[in-house]
């Protein structure tokens, strides 16, 4: 089984029936996770995407290389301007958002802006997109990376684009990688589960800070039925593109 499918299932498991979720650009795994949640345990979840679509119809959906591809809005029930979704967030009604992280620190803060100093960056990254706006106001923040490594899990971010765990705030911060699932809580950066065929040692060796390790479980694999859903939504295997580096 491909790691992409394990990550999609792990993302889907963070979504509950009464949630409203948004995914942004360059988000093939979140797009499929939202569909998977809706097709299985969270049928009433409200699914909004960066193509301004509401509840994209799974029967006519095919995952495309751009997350804003008009085909992701095929048979949508409404056009929801992103600003409207941001209004939901301001009112506390957008439950969750998925964001990547070029760098992630032990609080779950993320850098998507640049490597090096802002005014003279070594690498200009694409940018934080909605990270700075949404990370402080959503209830569920799911950060993902397909590059579990010391370069990503750093002690200090070059730039703080988005906020992870914030003390006293009702915010559930999950970090899902190609090796493991973490929750960022007041106890720290807690390793919750490792993916099949991954060891705890591998997970730790590839981070520049130490996660909290206790009661580590194995990340559940998608069932055969769930895999069939994923395959049907993504027959071209777009979900694997993030892994080809």
């Amino acid at each position: 089984m491909h790691t992409a499918d394990v990550m999609i299932k792990a993302m889907a498991m963070e979504i509950d029936n009464n949630d409203i979720f948004l995914h942004g650009l360059a988000s093939p795994l979140p797009a499929l996770a939202m569909h998977l949640a809706k097709l299985t345990h969270a049928p009433h979840m409200v699914y909004i995407n960066v193509a301004d679509a509401l509840d994209p119809e799974p029967n006519s959906y095919k995952l495309c290389l751009s997350s804003a591809d008009p085909r992701h809005a095929l048979n949508t029930k409404a056009v929801i301007e992103l600003l409207e979704t941001f209004d939901l967030a301001a009112k506390g009604k957008l439950t969750g958002m998925f964001l990547g992280g070029a760098q992630i620190d032990s609080k779950g803060n993320i850098n998507l802006t640049c490597i090096g100093e802002y005014h003279s960056p070594k690498v200009k990254l694409p940018g934080g997109a909605a990270a700075a706006y949404l990370t402080p106001i959503v209830k569920k923040l799911i950060i993902w990376t397909t590059n579990h490594s010391k370069r990503v899990f750093v002690e200090k971010l070059d730039f703080v684009t988005g906020l992870g765990y914030e003390e006293g705030k009702e915010k559930d911060v999950t970090v899902i990688t190609n090796m493991a699932v973490f929750k960022v809580t007041k106890e720290g950066f807690v390793l919750k589960s490792i993916h099949p065929d991954i060891t705890v040692e591998e997970v730790i060796e590839n981070m520049s800070f130490s996660p909290v390790v206790k009661d580590v479980k194995t990340t559940p694999k998608p069932t055969d039925e769930e895999l069939r859903f994923i395959e049907k939504l993504d027959p071209d295997g777009v979900r694997f593109s993030e892994f080809k580096k």
């Binding site: 495309c64 997109a129 909605a130």
Partner: protein, 271 residues
């Protein structure tokens, strides 16, 4: 209503060197690529490009040395990789850049369309973007006058020019965006000058029959250009999808240092 239908060469004259310019669409959807080509052809310089999450439109304008500054929340090619010309220009300090965040820049565009001087937005506080924008003069952390809590004030954005590609327009400028609208309505209504490029020019009867489809009424509009395939190689919903092979070819040529060749060929080729 006045006839505003003009040739693209005429419409491009509405842009002055040094103008702030915003373009329609997001990533690989409904970017006004046909008009971008005309901006490059006309040799415009020192543009200040502003948008939430653009793509090839911004990158190719940067490659063509038409740009002085960029303000975006994100600029890249999603799964295809980084916007190489943007990246290079920033890293070599050939252009200025200001990173924004989607919730702030979209609200700033909406404030511009509303005639408000600024808008307050939640979130953002605690990130490193705050210092950058306070120094720039685009954001201020203020006290909420009602409850005293800290909140972010974001200055409205009123670009000098907005170029919005739509599916249908009449010769007077009534314009219909079909499908995803993104922030394009606010860009259009907040800009000092507005250029509409359209896949199809329809009779005004179309809007009389379907007034709810008139997303940008004529009185906002300065020029209308008939431009079939005007978003290509990005998508135009209900007309054509994105041409991913062409995006790939563009990026390959950028990577191989052949961007000038790409631009030359693109300018010479009539779609």
């Amino acid at each position: 209503m006045q006839n505003k239908l003009v040739d693209v060469e005429k419409a491009v004259e509405l842009i002055d060197n040094g103008d702030s310019v915003t373009l329609s669409g997001v990533s690989m959807v409904r970017a006004p690529m046909g008009f971008v080509r005309e901006i490059i052809k006309a040799g415009k310089k020192d543009l200040y490009l502003i948008d939430r999450e653009p793509g090839m439109d911004f990158d190719i304008l940067i490659a063509a040395k038409a740009v002085k500054k960029v303000r975006v929340a994100m600029l890249g090619f999603e799964l295809f990789g980084l916007a190489l010309n943007f990246r290079r220009a920033v890293e070599n300090r050939e252009i200025e850049w200001l990173e924004d965040t989607c919730g702030a820049i979209t609200n700033a565009l909406r404030a511009g369309a509303s005639g408000m001087p600024f808008v307050v937005v939640k979130g953002v506080l605690g990130t490193d973007l705050v210092d950058i924008h306070e120094n720039e003069g685009t954001w201020r952390v203020i006290d909420d006058p009602f409850n005293g809590e800290k909140i972010l004030a974001v200055k409205a954005i009123n670009p000098d020019v907005a170029i919005i590609h739509v599916q249908k327009a009449d010769k007077y400028g009534n314009a219909s965006i079909e499908g995803s609208r993104f922030e394009d309505i606010y860009k259009a209504k907040g800009a000092k000058k507005l250029i509409i490029t359209a896949e199809e020019i329809v009779d005004t009867e179309y809007f009389m029959k379907y007034p709810e489809r008139n997303t940008i009424p004529y009185f906002y509009v300065d020029a209308v250009v008939h431009m079939p395939k005007g978003a290509y190689p990005t998508a135009c919903p209900n007309y054509y999808g994105p041409d991913y092979d062409e995006v790939r070819r563009y990026l390959t040529m950028c990577r191989e240092g052949k961007i000038d060749e790409y631009i030359k060929e693109w300018i010479e080729k009539e779609v």
